[in-house]
């Protein structure tokens, strides 16, 4: 799934995000976010993207060592749980950067407590279309990620680390080269594994299934990955950015790490900022930075903003009027019913039609269902169908009721969080874009519906998922998904 984001250089051309060209220009990533007001030298940004030259070249091993210094080696201990690194990560309060935000120290402890030898897996699959940060990190600072994986492996007594990256990502090359540069110096075998594109392919259990030779689809848990994952070993699987942070903590310690960010969310994070901006790109920010400051760092707005989507297509919308109030930390965003997730911040301009965009994305999310769980396949399909009908103005008067029912039916009834995320996105859209939805319900498509779509989606959608077509057990009153709008409902 190849997509390009507009770069600072090409920002003069208006950007269409509907059909991304499979351009082979390296999209430039960008550093430097807003310097925090009370920055004090070495504690400040950039951290993850430190030393990355403006031209966006990869940090090879020499430059990487120049910028970050040597990775300290931990003394081998008898009990894994006594590892110094685990303690440091715990004290640093690092949370996973893949979207779930699970405390990394706790995960390390859980893996360390298992009996057999663990294995480390770096998740750089990045199935979320609106997110670009992992690719950028892989392209620019692969050694930092690998440092983190190696340090973790040492701490857990693992002999192997696998990096899972999307097969069409530019990061494949840079990571492969970086692994080669390191040779056998690490005393840990690092393997690169490519993962098929697709939204759920980056889900934790799906990635592990793929590494085990099965299709890249989520599996039923328990057993949880930290108990049994790749090759039935306890698996320490985390996002690439998380591992990069571990590498920094190993070098500079927890206090340094906590010098930026908030008490709940210490440290820095990569955010993918897109929308009507002068320089949409990946930025590194300190948690708690105001959205306003980030927008300024991105050269300011080029059009008024209707709303901002936080956390990607499993996230939530916040009205554009509240833009000035928003600070980028989960605690702050929670007041508006949103969270940072994997750091995706997507601004929707007032020129787009939010209803059409919502319908598009919901349809796409329905199509990305793994097709394994009935409630997800049927429920998301029906949800996408209903929203499409709302957009076209042909929905029944109970459409909103139907959406609520579907949301209830679908939540927590899949093997993974995909349906929950899709429902969250759709419900929050209906809430925030209440007026536009009401308008469409009455009058159908608006003139902005046919404008170029803004929310990024991959060019080539996969075939619609369907389940085995055996007739279902008959419930007393079965309703078929309404397809009056001509939208093909996913069975």
């Amino acid at each position: 799934m190849s997509r390009s984001f507009p770069t600072a250089e090409s920002s003069t051309a208006g950007f269409s995000t509907a059909g991304f060209s499979t351009a082979d220009d390296a999209t430039r990533a960008y550093v430097q976010a807003p310097e925090p007001a009370d920055s004090a030298g070495a504690d400040s940004l950039p951290r993850l993207l430190r030393g990355v030259p403006a031209a966006g070249d990869v940090l090879d091993i020499e430059r990487h060592l120049d910028v970050h210094g040597e990775l300290p080696h931990e003394r081998k201990r008898k009990r894994r749980s006594a590892s110094e690194l685990i303690e440091q990560v715990e004290r640093a309060g690092l949370r996973g950067r893949g979207g779930a935000g699970f405390p990394t120290g706790a995960k390390l402890r859980a893996v360390a407590a298992q009996r057999s030898r663990p294995i480390v897996v770096v998740n750089a699959a990045e199935g979320e279309p609106a997110s670009d940060k992992d690719r950028v990190l892989c392209q620019l600072a692969p050694h930092l990620i690998l440092d983190g994986a190696v340090a973790t492996a040492h701490a857990l007594g693992a002999h192997e680390a696998i990096v899972g990256v999307c097969e069409s990502s530019e990061g494949v090359e840079t990571l492969a080269r970086a692994i080669e540069e390191r040779g056998s110096a690490d005393d840990v075998r690092i393997e690169l594994a490519t993962v098929p594109g697709g939204y759920v392919a980056g889900q934790e259990s799906a990635l592990i299934a793929h590494l085990n030779g099965a299709p890249a689809l989520p599996t039923f848990t328990p057993p949880m990955p930290f108990e049994q994952g790749v090759r039935r070993r306890p698996t320490m699987l985390s996002n690439a950015e998380t591992f990069a942070n571990i590498a920094l903590i190993a070098r500079h310690g927890p206090d340094w790490f906590r010098a930026l960010g908030t008490a709940d969310q210490p440290g820095s994070a990569l955010v993918t900022l897109s929308g009507p901006l002068t320089a949409p790109a990946v930025y590194e920010i300190e948690f708690g930075t105001s959205l306003r400051a980030l927008i300024d760092a991105a050269g300011g707005l080029r059009a008024p903003v209707r709303a901002v989507l936080l956390g990607g297509y499993a996230g939530a919308w916040v009205d554009g009027g509240l833009l000035a109030d928003l600070a980028l930390s989960d605690a702050q965003l929670a007041r508006h019913g949103a969270s940072l997730g994997s750091g995706v911040v997507t601004l929707l301009s007032a020129e787009a039609c939010p209803v059409a965009e919502t319908a598009r994305v919901t349809r796409w999310m329905a199509g990305e269902s793994a097709g394994q769980c009935g409630p997800c396949v049927h429920g998301l399909g029906a949800l996408a169908g209903t929203i499409s009908e709302l957009a076209a103005g042909v929905a029944g008067h109970d459409a909103e009721q139907r959406v609520d029912t579907l949301a209830q039916l679908v939540r927590r009834r899949g093997a993974c969080g995909h349906p929950d995320g899709a429902v969250r996105f759709a419900l929050s859209a209906i809430e925030v874009f209440r007026d536009e939805f009401a308008d469409h319900a009455r009058h159908g498509a608006c003139e902005r519906c046919s404008a170029a779509a803004e929310l990024p989606l991959p060019e080539h959608p996969r075939a619609q998922p369907h389940m085995d077509s055996r007739p279902r057990a008959r419930a007393s009153s079965r309703r078929r998904s309404r397809t009056r709008s001509g939208e093909r409902a996913v069975r």
């Binding site: 779930a100 699970f102 995960k107 859980a110 934790e204 989520p218 599996t219 039923f220 328990p222 949880m224 990955p225 930290f226 394994q372 769980c373 009935g374 409630p375 997800c376 049927h378 429920g379 039916l409 009834r413 899949g414 093997a415 085995d468 055996r470 279902r472 057990a473 008959r474 419930a475 009153s477 079965r478 309703r479």
Partner: protein
Amino acid sequence: MSHRLRLNPIACEAHGMCAELLPERITLDEWGYPVLDEEPLSGAVLDHARRAAQACPTFALLVERERERSRT
């Protein structure tokens, strides 16, 4: 020691026998898939639940002892 119902949604193929055998705790949604009541099971209901789990052709329905489930 209480027990709870759990479903493996991947294995579930909406055969629907569980809802026939344990209507107290299981209903079928509009597509024929089971919606479980998460309340603890005990006594006679537990026996029925075990029977329902045995009847499931794909072993999707599980009766599990309470345990700490952490979601990583």
